[in-house]
């Protein structure tokens, strides 16, 4: 087997860098949009702060439609939109665009589910103090649900790393592409194995950090 790590090593590092780049932009953009959608999903539900049947139904249906689409199909499906926004349908940025949209819808549900668990009594108390709805969302709702939200985002991060592995299919880079090009296509099990180890390490690190922050946020 070819084990020329002196040439593969730098490529692997570059792939790690690319993966981290794709993942962090996606979690930033998609995670933020998902937070907004998730809060809206929660708050527009009947009986909640911003009760609004139209907004709720539109968001709810959109999330239900987008979420189950396999990502590899989704990348091509949003192609025209990607082209219009990014100017191209191939490469890392095109993948980031598709990932961010998918992440936003996935996050929306994760956020909504975590917010549902917050104690409505606390929100009522804030209302009784004369706080505005927006203030309640930002200074009560989200802080109260912070610990589960952090765990939700950790889960999301790992899902995004998974999605990013498909970037190679549309001319993007990253660890997934590295494993396919240098491992799978060259029948080099060692490369595949090492890549898997690297991904496991990244995921473990993310999970450890997530758990640590979540515990910090719990105040128990």
């Amino acid at each position: 087997m070819n084990r020329d790590w002196s040439t593969l090593g730098p490529i692997l590092l570059e792939s790690v860098r690319e993966t981290l780049y794709m993942v962090s932009i996606t979690i930033g953009v998609g995670g933020f949009l998902g937070l907004v959608f998730g809060v809206l999903l929660y708050a527009t539900r009947k009986g909640n702060l911003l009760q609004n049947a139209v907004v709720f139904t539109v968001l709810n249906v959109a999330v239900n439609i987008v979420r189950p689409i396999p990502f590899i199909i989704f990348i091509t499906a949003v192609g025209p939109l990607t082209l219009a926004t990014i100017g191209t349908t191939i490469g890392n940025n095109a993948v980031i665009f598709a990932m961010s949209i998918m992440a936003a819808f996935v996050t929306a549900r994760i956020v909504e589910q975590n917010l549902v668990a917050t104690d409505p009594g606390v929100i009522e108390a804030a209302r009784a103090m004369g706080a505005s709805r927006l203030r309640i969302i930002v200074t009560v709702l989200i802080p109260e649900a912070l610990a589960p939200l952090i765990l939700g985002y950790t889960f999301l991060l790992i899902g995004i790393i998974d999605m990013s592995a498909l970037a190679g299919y549309v001319g993007g880079g990253g660890l997934g592409n590295f494993a396919i090009v240098y491992g799978y296509q060259r029948f080099n099990w060692e490369v595949t194995f090492v890549t898997v180890l690297v991904i496991i390490a990244i995921v473990q690190l993310a999970q450890l950090l997530g758990n640590w922050f979540a515990r910090k946020a719990l105040h128990r």
């Binding site: 804030a126 004369g130 200074t139 802080p143 105040h219």
Partner: protein, 404 residues
């Protein structure tokens, strides 16, 4: 008596069609500035909904709710926020933010009200001192006991110096000792800070110990209201009678009475013990009996004077609105004529329920109002013809010039 909160035919209906619930049904009620007003009723009676109309957490379906001269049913959300900021509220489950420290929780309404950081810190310090939790400022709520949490809740509710405090089952999640601590704190809030407090509860003990006036709710309606002492000393409505009976339990129920008669075959009477006028100037009173209107000690003095022996066989005396109330059931032994004279004497000062003797019971106990049929009137000599056992209590209160 200026009223700070007025309900005018206030109604709140949840839902529509056949499933509509009239949670609050045409309530007209005035709550005076500076009083502690109790709202009592069984679960689902509409108590929470009623108080939530005050700070417009619920908007009335019809009618008016006037708070500090403003009809809150006509206000828009932005204006309501100002009204709400002037009304403190505490809750059964405390509703503290677990993500903030004690100081953070207490300071939150000040933040909402736009106080500077420096002013907030000073005010939070004052408040925590008032509720005795200065050393817990940096703790998180999860580390506090229930009583401490509620004290944080009270400090938070008082942060912006509201003139009204709403307490929704504020002690229902606490043990009896802690309940007393929290009630004592609420009493201080009322006395020292002059805050009008509306206390909702299904626990008779709570209203009994702190409310000046009380409203009893059932099926969304206020079925009875007035001074706490009047309402509980002479409850007119069945629900109220059940509440009174459930806490006081000072009068023997029929089965208890049967057992008592077994052990005490002599003539038994139940003497109502309540606060007298304390001046002893009333014309209808006999020396030594009416002096302070039927307090427990005077009953004994009267026994002595008439040469009758008495054994206390049942009873209970408690406080309503800080005034004594209850009854003693006594088995009397002595000369029949002396006993009759004693009873006549006592009747001039308080209510006496003649239970007769074991072989010839002259009456059922008043406690059986709980069970169902209204008690029969006493047939004892010199008795006032009263179908309602509490009716004569009411008369007696009137005779005594009524509670203050």
């Amino acid at each position: 008596m200026t009223s700070v909160i007025s309900f005018r035919d206030a109604t709140k209906v949840f839902g529509g069609g056949p499933d509509a619930v009239r949670a609050v049904d045409s309530v007209t009620l005035d709550i005076a500035r500076g009083e502690i007003f109790g709202v009592i009723g069984y679960s689902g009676a509409g108590k929470s909904t009623l108080v939530r109309l005050i700070n417009a957490l619920e908007t009335a379906t019809s009618g008016q709710v006037i708070v500090d001269g403003q009809d809150v049913t006509t206000l828009r959300e932005a204006e309501l926020r100002k009204v709400r900021a002037g009304i403190g509220m505490i809750f059964q489950q405390f509703n503290l933010m677990n993500s903030r420290t004690v100081a953070g929780n207490v300071g939150y309404p000040l933040k909402v009200a736009g106080w500077s950081k420096q002013d907030r810190r000073r005010r939070v310090g004052e408040l925590l001192e008032f509720v005795g939790l200065t050393d817990k400022a940096r703790s998180y709520p999860a580390k506090l006991s229930g009583g401490q949490k509620q004290r944080v809740g009270i400090a938070r509710a008082l942060a912006t110096s509201p003139s009204i405090l709403l307490a929704d089952e504020a002690t229902s999640a606490l043990d009896p000792d802690t309940t007393q601590d929290v009630l004592a704190l609420l009493r201080r809030v009322n006395r020292e800070l002059g805050v009008t407090i509306v206390v909702i509860t299904h626990e008779m003990d709570v209203v009994r110990s702190i409310a000046h006036r009380v409203a009893v709710m059932e099926h969304g309606k206020v079925i009875e209201h007035g001074r706490a002492y009047d309402v509980f000393a002479a409850p007119r409505e069945r629900a109220t009678q059940r509440f009174v009976a459930s806490t006081l339990q000072d009068r023997p129920s029929p089965d208890v009475l049967d057992r008592l008669r077994h052990r005490h075959p002599g003539r038994m009477i139940t003497v109502t013990v309540r606060e007298g006028d304390g001046y002893g100037t009333g014309d209808s009173r006999v020396d030594g009996v009416g002096g302070s209107g039927g307090s427990g000690v005077d009953v004994l003095a009267a026994l002595r004077r008439h040469g009758v022996d008495g054994t206390i066989v049942f009873g209970g005396i408690t406080e309503i609105d800080e005034r004594p109330f209850g009854s003693l059931t006594v088995e009397l032994t002595g000369d029949d004529a002396a006993i009759d004279a004693l009873i006549a004497d006592l009747r001039r000062a308080t209510d006496v329920h003649d239970l007769g003797i074991g072989d010839a019971p002259s009456d059922r106990t008043t406690a059986d109002v709980v069970g169902g049929s209204p008690p029969e009137a006493s047939t004892g000599e010199g008795d006032e013809p009263d179908a309602d056992p509490y009716g004569f209590a009411m008369d007696a209160i009137r005779r005594h010039g009524g509670p203050r």
